[in-house]
Amino acid sequence: MTKTVHVVDDDDSFLRSMGRRLRGHGYTVETYPSVADFLLRSDPEAPGCVLTDLQMPQRDGFELQDRLTESSNPLPVVFVTGKGDIRTSVRAIKAGAEDFLTKRVSTDELLMAVERALARCDQERIIRRQQQEARAKIAALPPREKQMLLGIVRGVPIRDYAEELGVAERTVKHYRTLLTRELGLTAAVDLARLVQDAGFTVEQLAEMTEE
């Protein structure tokens, strides 16, 4: 899948030249003269990163970053600014910006920043995909198995849990093996990791079993 570098800047000349420069280095580039335009046109699922000017009329770079964080597919953001004062950069990095560049950025710095952002995008997408897969698997389990899974990942001794459910200890052990196999895992301990990957807490899982 091709990764796109989205460039957002209200300065037409800078936007165009940055597009040229990145394309020259072999990137797929989309340019947007405003935050609104970016939100309207960009593909929310496509991988990539955003290179945005910080000071823009109407919505600025920070707002763009906020909107991306809220979305299901947050792209890493690199700020490009004409000012580059300490306060703004600290704020940007704290808000989770990948990098902070000045408009007169050297090629090395620019490429490193873009590469880092894209790498992070990949990483995040992998994590997100794993999570989605784990969630899907857990969600697909029949209610009885979900209940068993909850007991196992809760870390309660099997004997106690069996007693709590009013079943034989052996029954719980049987479900554990069944779940491990059904979820395509090699060991029973991986069950806990799966729940973790799904980003579920024990409480969330408990809610799901009650449904």
Binding site: D11, S13, F14, R16, S17, M18, R20, R21, R23, G24, H25, Q55, V80, T81, G82, K83, G84, D85, I86, T102, K103, R104, V105, T107
Partner: protein
């Protein structure tokens, strides 16, 4: 006739005593007045007896008669026929003589109280005569003693008296005076019974080494009558000599002192004798004590210190102490002073507070102005960075893109390259516009040439810089000659140049101070260099690290290590130096500090400067 007894109808049941006070002289004579004062004062205290008091002032000497005059006695007897007296008070020797000569005419039982001026009166062998004795000769002796004691320069004692009224007393006094004077080695000058003119002339010729003892003088050679005390006043005024009197009534008339008898005291004694008949018989002679009376005013006139006075001397007419007389005024004055003082103090405090407040305000204003300048520069710098950042960033992008285009594909798309070049040109134009705008902004500062004192420029700049440096804990040393030739230029611009240099130094110290913990110091120095004034600003801020910045670089605009500056400090100074046909010189001492020297040529004349500016 004067009655001073209580009203008869109220006290009819009380025993009656009828008293006659008889005096051969006039009733206004001070001696008599004082006698009567004492008498009345004492008499008023007496109770249990009803008194009828009569007085007779025979005025014999004024009438040209004497005590032997029978007609007066005949008239008196006629007047008081049927009025038997219990007591007759005689106020003088002469009166007693007059009475005794006609003793047979009175009831023999009538008691006589006689005031006498001699220790013993030969005529007083009448058993009904009680004597109030005033020892005049003794008083005279003490007078001379007193005079010689309080006047160390004394050579002579003069004696003024008339013997006609009290011949025996006068003679006794004269004898005693002479004896005493001779005893203590003083010359004695009797001036007795002299005609008044001669007496006055003699007295006027005396020096202050002669003490004049005055007994009395009543009638002159032409028969004019005098009150002795009043005449004494005139005589004292005319003479340079200190006068001594022999009666209380003479005090206050110009005599220094008198050893005399208080006539009031005598009056009181007489009243006591009259009211208790028994005492008259028992004490035939009652001595009245003489007193030393001193007139403080005359004492001062002759410059006689008080400590020479004998302990028992009574000082009269002592001028009241300043405090006693003026205590109200003094208190009021002091109170006024205190109130004024408090007011003054209050005003002074208020004034000081106001001055301090004004000072604070002016300091705040300076700080504000400085802050304003700094923030303006900061804003300008930010604006510049943003405005120039856009086109420059775009140019950079385009150049890089073009390079990549050419690198990837040697037969690069000509259309694409043309677009890039036209974009670069457009951005360059944009950048130029930004610069032009800023240039026009800076150009608004006008350059006014006048002849200025370089010392004043340094002083003013130092004053302006003081606030910031004080706050930063940096000491400022001004090393400046008393005077230098004038320079031609704009004092505001030169001040700004110095302030920029000082600010740069302060910033460098601020940065270095964190590293080394050194006490920052800036020196402004003014010297003559050839035909120029050289202003130099030195600091101990560590100087420039020439590995990161070259000395040429720091003179370029926008070279700054600070986040809030725009690196215009030194370039502005360089521009100002140029405008003044001067020069800017940097002397870097890496690790120690930096010295920046700005030279401005002395004014030859305003004309020549203009010419020079035209040529350049």
């Amino acid at each position: 006739m004067v009655s001073c007894g209580q009203a008869a109808q109220e006290v009819t049941d009380l025993p009656l005593r009828r008293v006659l006070i008889i005096d051969t002289e006039g009733s206004t004579r001070p001696a008599f007045v004082q006698f009567m004062e004492g008498f009345r004062a004492e008499f008023a205290k007496q109770q249990g007896t009803h008194f009828e008091v009569f007085t007779e002032n025979l005025e014999l000497s004024r009438m040209g008669r004497d005590a032997n005059d029978d007609r007066t006695m005949t008239w008196l007897l006629e007047k008081y026929r049927g009025w038997p007296f219990d007591v007759i008070i005689s106020t003088s020797d002469a009166t007693l003589r007059f009475l005794l000569r006609n003793r047979s005419q009175f009831t023999l039982q009538t008691e006589i109280v006689s005031v006498e001026r001699l220790p013993r009166n030969a005529m007083a062998d009448d058993k009904h005569v009680s004597i109030l004795s005033c020892d005049l000769p003794e008083a005279a002796r003490r007078t001379v003693r007193l005079a010689s004691h309080i006047l160390p320069e004394l050579r002579e004692v003069a004696f003024v008296a008339q013997t006609r009224s009290h011949p025996k007393a006068a003679e006794a006094v004269l004898e005693q005076l002479q004896l005493t004077a001779e005893t203590i080695g003083l010359n004695f000058l009797p001036l007795v019974d002299l005609p008044l003119g001669e007496l006055r002339a003699t007295l006027a010729g005396l020096s202050n080494q002669t003490a004049v003892v005055y007994l009395n003088y009543t009638v002159d050679e032409d028969g004019n009558d005098y009150v002795p005390a009043e005449l004494l006043e005139t005589l004292c005024r005319e003479s340079a000599s200190p006068f001594f009197g022999m009666s209380e009534s003479y005090l206050g008339r110009g005599v220094v002192a008198g050893v005399g008898f208080s006539l009031r005291e005598i009056g009181r004694e007489a009243a006591q004798l009259v009211s208790s008949p028994a005492s008259i018989e028992e004490q035939a002679v009652r001595a009245v004590a003489a007193e030393i009376l001193v007139d403080a005013r005359v004492l001062d006139r002759f410059g006689i210190p008080r400590d020479r006075l004998p302990a028992d001397a009574r000082v009269l007419f002592d001028p009241p102490q300043f405090w006693q007389e003026y205590w109200l005024q003094i208190t009021a004055g002091v109170a006024m002073l205190v109130i004024q003082g408090v007011l003054l103090l209050t005003l002074a405090i208020q004034y000081r507070q106001r001055v301090r407040a004004e000072q604070t305000v002016s300091e705040q204003r300076d700080q504000l102005a400085h802050a304003g300048r700094v923030s303006m520069m900061g804003q300008l710098a930010a604006a510049l960075a943003h405005e120039l950042g856009q086109p420059l960033g775009a140019i950079l992008n385009n150049v890089e893109a073009a390079a990549m285009l050419l690198q990837n594909d040697s037969s690069a798309n000509a259309t694409e390259l043309r677009d890039i070049i036209s974009d670069i040109a457009a951005d360059e134009e944009r950048a130029d516009l930004v610069l032009a705008r800023i240039r026009s902004m800076i150009k608004q500062q006008t350059f006014t040439v006048s002849r200025i004192d370089p010392v004043a420029v340094v002083r003013d700049a130092a004053t302006l810089a003081q606030v910031r440096l004080k706050n930063a804990g940096i000491s400022l040393i001004v090393d400046c000659p008393a005077s230098l030739p004038e320079i031609a230029g704009d004092s505001i611009l030169l001040q700004q140049a110095l302030l920029n240099l000082i600010n740069n130094s302060a910033d460098a110290i601020g940065a270095a101070g964190d590293r080394k913990g050194l006490a920052g110091a800036i020196t402004i120095c003014l010297r003559q260099e050839d035909r120029s004034a050289a202003f130099s600003v030195s600091d101990n801020g560590g100087g420039i690290d020439e590995q990161t910045h070259s000395l040429e670089q720091v003179l370029q605009p926008f070279q700054t290590s600070r986040t809030d500056g725009m690196g215009m400090g030194l370039p502005i100074v360089a521009t100002i130096a140029e405008q003044h046909d001067g020069s800017l010189r940097l002397e870097n001492r890496p690790g120690d500090g930096l010295t920046v020297t700005l030279t401005v040529p002395f004014a030859v004349s305003a004309e020549s400067l203009r010419k020079r500016r035209r040529i350049s």
